[in-house]
């Protein structure tokens, strides 16, 4: 029997992620979303297909998720990122009971049971508590976003950031820099500020161990450590925390196909043609 492949496409506010799976991950690609790239999810998909040495016809089922999931015309189904993160994390880290996902423009906490999301809380109203907070403040400090985590590890006396608003925090860090505070201490203070916000949100759920951290925020070692301090124990981080949603999407596609086959149902599928995703069509 021909091997079946499943694709998960996760269009986040900052990054677009594609994963192709059969029994395991065959290929994955991460590319920026951005205003122009939003229209071009198919390019990331093409890249993933090329990496996997597959054609689009080889893909049995495509599930789109994330912020831009409704704008993927070649997807067979759209599933919320909450469900996809839950499925992806349960696959990668079966011991996890809570997921904290720190994305570019939102953050969320998800309670897991048997691989499914059974409750969640989310912040998509305020940039503080999301990756955007670090993006804005990194710019103010003249530091690359990717370097923030590493730099913060050298902190001796972290600075307390009083502003809970991203815009004012950006001003505050510039003032701290002008006052001669060491960069690592300021960045560590920023990590603590964002960790406090995220922890406050996540506590709306009853946080149960083990806690998995996903999204771009999980790639920042300083933020991971700040959250561990808040929680009082270590967190789990998957090998590539940006991919959990796309992995979950591919797995849910696989589940759907399996269930349909068991029930003898033929699934509707989109045309196997890569087209530009549009915001309006």
């Amino acid at each position: 029997m021909k091997s079946q492949y499943f694709a998960g496409v996760d269009i986040g506010s900052t990054m677009t992620k594609v994963v192709i799976m059969n029994q395991a991950i065959v290929a994955s690609v991460i590319g920026p979303t951005g205003p122009e790239h939003r229209k071009l999810a198919n390019r990331v998909m093409e890249e993933a297909l090329a990496k996997a040495k597959l054609s689009f016809d080889d893909i049995t089922y495509v599930v789109a998720t994330g912020y831009g999931r409704i704008n993927v015309p070649f997807a067979d189904k759209q599933i919320t990122e909450i469900s996809c993160h839950a499925r992806g994390v349960s696959y990668l880290l079966p011991e996890a009971r809570t997921v904290i996902d720190i994305g570019g423009q939102d953050s969320k906490a998800i309670k897991l049971s048997n691989g499914r999301a059974v409750d969640f809380v989310m912040n998509d109203k305020c940039a503080a508590g999301t990756g955007r907070f670090l993006e804005v403040t990194a710019e103010g400090l003249g530091v690359k976003l990717d370097d923030m985590g590493r730099l913060s590890l050298a902190a001796k006396n972290k600075v307390e950031i009083g502003s809970t608003c991203t815009v004012f925090a950006a001003q505050e860090v510039v003032a701290e820099l002008s006052a001669g505070m060491p960069l690592p201490d300021i960045i560590a203070g920023l990590h603590e500020a964002i960790a406090t916000r995220i922890y406050g949100m996540a506590r709306r759920l009853k946080i149960e161990r083990e806690v998995a951290l996903t999204g771009g925020g999980a790639k920042n070692i300083g933020l991971v450590k700040a959250l561990e301090v808040k929680l009082g124990y270590p967190v789990l981080v998957p090998p590539e925390p940006l991919l959990t949603g796309a992995i979950g999407a591919a797995l849910l596609g696989k589940d759907i196909v399996k269930k349909a086959a068991e029930s003898g149902i033929s699934l509707p599928r989109s045309e196997r043609r890569l087209r530009e995703a549009t915001l309006f069509g």
């Binding site: 909450i82 499914r116 999301a117 059974v118 409750d119 969640f120 989310m122 709306r204």
Partner: protein
């Protein structure tokens, strides 16, 4: 000028499940028109707030109420509030204040500056009143200041402010020990209001008519309670979306035959629907409670979106501002003095869930109410709305939810975040993405139990 802009996009109308709810728009419009007409005829008009105990009193004295919160809600529902909010902002009111108040104050400021209604006012506009009747109760502090602020624009319009307290909840204390003091205080407050109204209008209170209206209100409360209890049926014939319409006769038309007749007809309609097994939607999958928070008046179609996912709301706490009078622990029919009767009804309403809460250590009356509804209405999940500008009604919702989850550990919950009037706080795509995710969790929990 931006303030003169009309709303660019006409808001989509929410589809109602009941015929009765579909008539509310016309009823509300007629209510506003009747105030405009009364103004032309020189009748006394009062700015009024909902749930202030004075419905029967103003009706008995033929004072025409203009419900300022209602008018702000109408502006919000028509997505035409922004220009009034901006006007209030230009008057230096903070944007983080109650947006009902800001909308009303912005309208007043503009109307008084022009000496006429602002251009194209929704449904004819908010008239200049003859008096303003206020009460913050003990839960809504903006209402204590609203009319004081309005007097900047209508300095010649008198304000009468009454206090309407009720005994606070204490787990180790029976409020009945102090309830008489509260009733006595409220009666004095209402008596003062009657004197004020007599002085303003030059009319004397017709106490017999007041007693008749008190009796009508009791009967209406009972009928509303009995009507809403019909929604326990599976499938449920009416949801919270419709209840956000049928709140109009509850809070803006109380002590009128129109309100009673409306609920008589709704009651009949729901009974017919139940007999025909006709639910709010054809395939009811998830039964939800609207567990707190005022709605986003500009986004009521979100209730239709829930419906499209198989979710219905058989019950809500918001605007269900009545209990069955015959369920109170005193026989109100024996309280013949109308002001005393109103005061007892008030105290008994607000303390109704106290005894239940005291039986469950660590609980709270608001949580007990949720528990009772969850049981009675066979609820699968809870939805709350945090409106950023309405702190007094919305602070504490998360705390209530946390207490509730000690009882229902696996009940999915959804917190929506927006506002009552300010459409700039709302993002339809994000809201619906949250609803989608919530539906996923409901399905996950339901399938786990199967």
């Amino acid at each position: 000028m931006t303030q003169e802009k009309k709303p660019e996009k006409k808001p989509e109308k929410r589809r109602t499940a009941t015929e009765a709810a579909s008539r509310i728009g016309a009823m509300s419009k007629a209510m506003i028109a009747s105030v405009l007409q009364a103004k032309e005829e020189g009748k006394p008009i009062a700015y009024t707030f909902i749930c202030c105990c004075y419905d029967e009193i103003i009706r008995a004295m033929d004072i025409v109420p203009h419900w300022v919160e209602n008018y702000a809600g109408i502006c919000g529902a028509k997505r035409d509030a922004q220009r009034f909010l901006e006007r209030a902002g230009a008057e230096n009111f903070s944007r983080s204040l109650c947006t009902y108040a800001l909308c009303g104050l912005g309208f007043d400021a503009w109307r008084e500056e022009l000496g006429e209604m602002p251009p194209n006012p929704p449904w004819g506009g908010q008239v200049r009143p003859n008096m303003m009747l206020g009460s913050g109760q003990i839960l809504c502090d903006p209402r204590n200041k609203w009319y004081q602020a309005a007097q900047h624009y209508v300095p010649d319009v008198p304000v009468y402010e009454i206090g309407l307290p009720w005994p606070p909840y204490e787990y180790d204390y029976d409020y009945r020990q102090v309830q008489d003091y509260y009733v006595k205080y409220i009666v004095e407050q209402l008596r003062g209001l009657v004197e004020f109204l007599e002085k303003q209008t030059g009319r004397k209170m017709d106490w017999d008519r007041l007693s008749e209206l008190v009796d009508l209100t009791d009967r209406t409360w009972n009928l509303i309670w009995e009507t809403y209890e019909l929604r326990r049926a599976v499938p449920s014939p009416m949801g919270t979306g419709d209840a956000m319409n049928t709140m109009v006769p509850i809070v803006f038309m109380m002590a009128t035959q129109q309100a009673y007749d409306f609920f008589r007809e709704l009651n009949d309609e729901l009974r017919r629907k139940i007999a025909n097994k006709e639910g709010e939607i054809p395939d009811e999958k998830y039964r939800l409670i609207w567990g707190g928070g005022l709605p986003s008046w500009f986004a009521l179609t979100d209730f239709n979106y829930f419906n499209s996912k198989g979710a219905v709301f058989p019950v809500e706490t918001t605007y269900r501002m009545v209990e069955a009078i015959y369920n109170f622990d005193i026989d109100l029919t024996k309280v013949t003095d109308p002001l005393e009767h109103i005061a007892w009804r008030w105290v008994k309403y607000w303390t109704y869930w106290y005894d239940k809460a005291r039986k469950r250590p660590g609980s709270h009356p608001d949580v007990e109410r949720l528990i009772q509804y969850i049981e009675d209405y066979k609820i699968d999940g809870i939805v709350m709305h945090e409106a950023f500008s309405c702190r007094t009604w919305h602070v504490g919702l998360i705390w209530q939810l946390n207490l509730l989850k000690k009882v229902y550990k696996n009940m999915p919950s959804l917190i929506l975040e927006s506002d009552i009037v300010d459409v700039s706080s709302y993002n339809e795509a994000d809201t619906r993405a949250r609803i989608d995710a919530f539906i996923d969790t409901l399905e996950a929990v339901k399938s786990k139990g199967r």
